[in-house]
């Protein structure tokens, strides 16, 4: 479903230094697979997600989604993005819209659904993430965990083929991480294709099909969660795991 080949991506920092975010990066993600990407900060994991829907642009290489080269000039990136939902670390809900409007808007603007249809879908999804009773509330009045669940419902409303989570629980207070992870686990068990950047190893162990450890823009080691917990091979992997576990 996702095929990345020899992807290079370099950032320029404000002081004009070049930082290599992805170095000759290649991977394949199958339909229905739940892939967890772990790694130290600056290892390129978020960059990889952002390059998958072209929030960041790669310098060279190729990325195919469903066989379509998304960096091809003829591709309408808006159509690609409809199929790839993204959940952000800082939620990025629309603060001037109510919870219900947040979930409904893109369905009407992008999918051209009529209002009744969009509202029905939205209410169903808000119920699914357990926050329907807050449908007329503005995001500022919600806790972080509640906001992130709304953000997940907003993405689900587009019926994306792939869902990406960019450190979706990193900005949450500890007692709220569980409620968001529960929603993510439910989605994983439904057989969705998910690419999850996280430090939550419990999530990786419970629902992931594959864990990828990245460092300095490359894959250092990958395997099942079980493999990472029992016998990681590389020194860097061991060091990283000893720090986060």
């Amino acid at each position: 479903m996702i095929k990345a080949r020899n992807v290079h991506k370099t950032f320029k920092t404000p002081d004009r230094k070049e930082v290599k975010a992805l170095v000759d990066f290649s991977t394949d993600i199958k339909k229905g697979e739940v892939v967890v990407i772990i790694g130290p900060s600056g290892s390129g994991k978020s960059t990889f997600l952002r390059c998958l829907n072209r929030l960041d642009e790669i310098d060279s290489g190729e990325i195919f989604i469903d066989g379509v080269n998304i960096y091809d000039k003829k591709v309408n990136i808006n159509e690609i993005r409809e199929e790839i939902g993204m959940v952000f670390q800082l939620f990025n809900l629309f603060p001037h819209k109510t919870v219900l409007e947040n979930v409904t808007l893109a369905q009407m603007v992008v999918r051209k659904k009529n209002k009744e249809e969009a509202l029905e879908v939205s209410r169903g999804l808000l119920h699914k993430v357990g926050i329907l009773e807050k449908e007329n509330v503005y995001p500022a009045q919600l806790s972080g965990g509640q906001q992130q669940r709304v953000a997940i419902a907003r993405v689900l409303a587009m019926h994306p083929k792939i869902m990406m989570f960019d450190e979706a629980t990193s900005a949450l207070d500890p007692e709220m991480i569980g409620e968001v992870l529960d929603v993510m686990k439910t989605l994983a068990k439904e057989g969705r294709t998910m690419v999850v950047v996280t430090h939550e190893m419990g999530f990786a162990r419970e629902v992931s099909d594959r864990v990828v450890f990245m460092d300095e823009g490359q894959i250092v080691e990958e395997g099942t969660a079980e493999h990472f917990f029992t016998n990681p091979v590389h020194e860097r992997t061991k060091l990283f795991l000893s720090q986060i576990l």
Binding site: N92, F94, V155
Partner: protein, 265 residues
């Protein structure tokens, strides 16, 4: 708000200063005979207008006619300034260098030349080529002038919105234009209401400059009335008050809008 000892001291100082100013001017002894009784008929009067239209009824006086024209030109200019400013504000942030340079050139050119000169140029040069009426030329000049300032305010407003808002919109499949329209601009406009209000208040006051192209606005009609009656003090005080009515209403209106939009905070 509660009155305390400090409020009393402030009021006391204010009273002393007021009395001192009054005393100073009363000793200068200008002999001016006030004719405030002539002002009401310049606002409204009852009677016939001319030999052809002699039916007596309540009619607008010279200052009120000017007031209405100032109101019209201000509203029209605010409307166009918002449109110009929004376009310029977005263009200033374009990734395309020509668009960016053009919008910057417009802003710098307009902000760094006097409005009075712009009014003359647009009326006498552009206006006579395009056969613009004085009203059209005046509205154009004021809109173009205020549009440059509004453009910078809009740009600042857009830039103040967290980039995650654009990223979230785009990642849901919205185009740049859809994201601007539904997500970025509504939030930006809410944030820029206070500086916009200041800009529009300036615009109402600056509109008095169009009197130089014989547009019969409040200022122009006031000058006519002064020339005819020599009641300069009363008339200019009245004009100032009428401008204050417009700007204060505008001020109240924007504060009302600001409160209404604060519900999502």
């Amino acid at each position: 708000m509660t009155f305390n000892k400090r409020s009393l001291i402030t009021l006391g100082v204010l009273a002393i200063v007021t009395f001192a100013v009054y005393y100073f001017f009363s000793r200068r002894g200008i002999t001016y005979i006030w004719h405030w009784e002539r002002i009401p008929e310049m606002l409204f009067y009852y009677g016939g207008k001319s030999a052809e239209d002699a039916v007596p009824r309540v009619r607008m006086g010279i200052l009120m006619i000017g007031f209405v024209l100032t109101l019209k030109i201000s509203i029209a200019s605010i409307f166009f300034a918002i449109i110009i400013g929004t376009i310029v504000g977005i263009a200033r942030l374009s990734h395309e260098p020509v668009t960016r340079a053009l919008s910057l050139g417009y802003v710098e050119l307009i902000r760094n030349t006097p409005l009075l000169v712009q009014i003359y140029i647009i009326y006498f040069f552009v206006g006579s080529m395009l056969r613009l009426s004085a009203f059209a030329a005046g509205t154009a000049a004021l809109s173009i002038f205020a549009g440059a300032y509004v453009g910078e305010i809009v740009r600042a407003g857009i830039q103040s919105i967290h980039k995650g808002q654009m990223e979230a919109s785009r990642s849901l499949g919205m185009s740049y234009a859809e994201a601007m329209r539904h997500i970025i601009l509504p939030q930006a406009f809410k944030r820029i209401i206070p500086p916009l209000a200041g800009q529009f208040i300036s615009l109402v006051k600056d509109s008095s400059l169009v009197s130089v192209i014989a547009l019969a606005d409040l200022m122009f009609q006031g000058q006519q009335a002064v020339a005819r009656t020599y009641h300069a003090f009363e008339i200019y005080f009245t004009i100032a008050f009428l401008y204050l009515v417009m700007t204060f209403t505008l001020s109240m209106a924007t504060q009302y809008i600001e409160r209404r939009l604060a519900i999502s905070d």
